[in-house]
Symmetry: C2
């Protein structure tokens, strides 16, 4: 199987990315990814303020997907996330939601064993997810630590094993890159990081021709989640609501008011992360209100 090594990584999503590997639609590919700290934190005396920031948030890739064009959707099926046996979490003054109230830099090394993450004497069930995943944008340059319409640092728990992420394609070949695996993360990622861990990510890529949405969408067992990343969480929550109402209206062929009311009954508006340069909101639409498979409704 084709494997992209962690040494092939980008730190900015730009329009003219050059692929380090290519795949056909339907092909399965592995991405070896460093943790979001670039592997620089191995013991608890390695604190964030001492790191080389040019090595933060590597995204392995890009992978070019043959025949994929602007205006298509790239479907990324997450087959497996095989994690290293140790992760790390970091925080410090100025970082995260309560950065003003934290006095010291702190790092905790978190062992990962038998599907659980150790924090002191607690063992937390692991729920591996991909923090950074995106494609070449239509225009502009987005550091891998930032999320927007192209994907990027969405830090969304639902992008885990078994999920399908749909990314709007803006450039030939899509140019898929990913990294920043978390062994576990709470919605909000409040302290600025989660259980940051190196991993081998296995995905199958597919092309959905001629259809592209404004924002990434991730499909899980029972819901379709629209992911919106904007400078404030307030803007992101409003736009996620707008996207959900539009999606439900089109999917069911109903009037705007009915779609708005149906979303008020059934759609959950939530938070992915509150700590990156753009904040990410999610609108979770239960599949039972959709008349067709999600992939046909994009």
């Amino acid at each position: 199987m084709k494997t992209i090594p962690s040494t092939d990584a980008i730190y900015t999503f730009v329009p003219d990315l050059r692929p380090v590997e290519r795949a056909r639609p339907g092909e399965t590919v592995c991405f070896d990814a460093l943790d979001a700290l670039g592997g620089q934190v191995q013991v608890e005396t390695d604190v964030l303020s001492g790191l080389d920031f040019e090595r933060i948030n590597p995204a392995s890739g890009p992978l070019g997907v043959d025949g994929t064009q602007a205006g298509d959707t790239l479907a990324v099926h997450v087959i497996a996330i095989d994690m290293a046996d140790q992760g790390a979490i970091v925080t410090g003054p100025g970082l995260g939601v309560l950065g003003d109230e934290v006095e010291h830099h702190a790092t905790r090394i978190l062992p990962i064993r038998d599907g659980r993450v150790g924090f002191g004497d607690l063992w937390i069930p692991a729920e591996p997810m991909i923090g950074v995943i995106g494609v070449a944008p239509a225009s502009g340059a987005f550091a891998t630590g930032t999320a927007h319409r192209h994907g990027g640092n969405m830090d969304t728990r639902e992008i885990g094993i078994g999920a399908v992420l749909y990314l709007p394609v803006s450039q030939p070949g899509a140019m898929l890159a990913m990294g920043d695996v978390h062994a576990v993360m709470g919605d909000g990622e409040v302290c600025v990081s989660a259980c940051e861990v190196a991993a081998r990510i296995t995905v199958r890529v597919d092309r959905i021709p001629g259809r592209s949405r404004d924002w990434p969408v991730v499909e899980t067992a029972h819901a379709v989640h629209i992911l919106v990343s904007l400078p404030t969480i307030e803007e992101a929550l409003v736009e996620a609501t707008r996207q959900a109402v539009g999606f439900v209206q089109a999917a069911r062929g109903i009037c705007r008011e009915d779609a708005y009311m149906l979303c008020s009954l059934c759609v959950d508006i939530g938070v992915s992360q509150l700590v990156d340069p753009n904040k990410t909101a999610k609108a979770s639409i239960p599949k039972f209100i959709l008349p067709k498979p999600a992939s046909e409704l994009l």
Copy 2:
């Protein structure tokens, strides 16, 4: 069993409420509650703009709980929510998250049958919850449509059957009132209403002496949710995060930085509602990280 009729209702939570009924700690009481529209919407031509707004958001009560004092916590165990067989949802121009984009007032009458809510040809699983529930505040006057430290219109899905709501007590007798049952609601309540339905609510009230938190807390099977209601969702999300970090720090006896990191790993920051005068955020703390029962940690 003592039953408070829907004709005994308040529209404002104020410090000096007079009880319409009294109960001892440990006693079970029923509250008959009109829907949040005051029962004024029975057919789809009854739209919100035509209603008498003085009858919106009735809260049945107040119930005085013997021996309860300022500085205590009132525990409200939700035993049952028996709903009428028809609810209603309303929206219109200027209402909800996307009020600027809605052209017409609209009402849908929603039959409730066999635990499901009908919306056109869809049948949505019912998940009954109490939208408005609160006690007399320390000071100020809060319309029942507004939520704050005393509770009120928190519109939180987790306040359902089997949950225990812990309310900070500010006045002798606590003065509990409730209403605004929803047969189903998505997080956010984006169109300004949900499936508004009349109901008989059965609760057991208990007193936790000498302990009181800053904000209401609701306990469900697997988590403890701190509910914060403030003028913007951004402020509410930040304060909910701060409350969760403080709760986890005290519960586990760990330093601030460790509590902050543990919350980043395990606590979900989310949205209850985006549409009332104060917006409500929730911080959901999984019970497995707490060393004692929630009621002992308040």
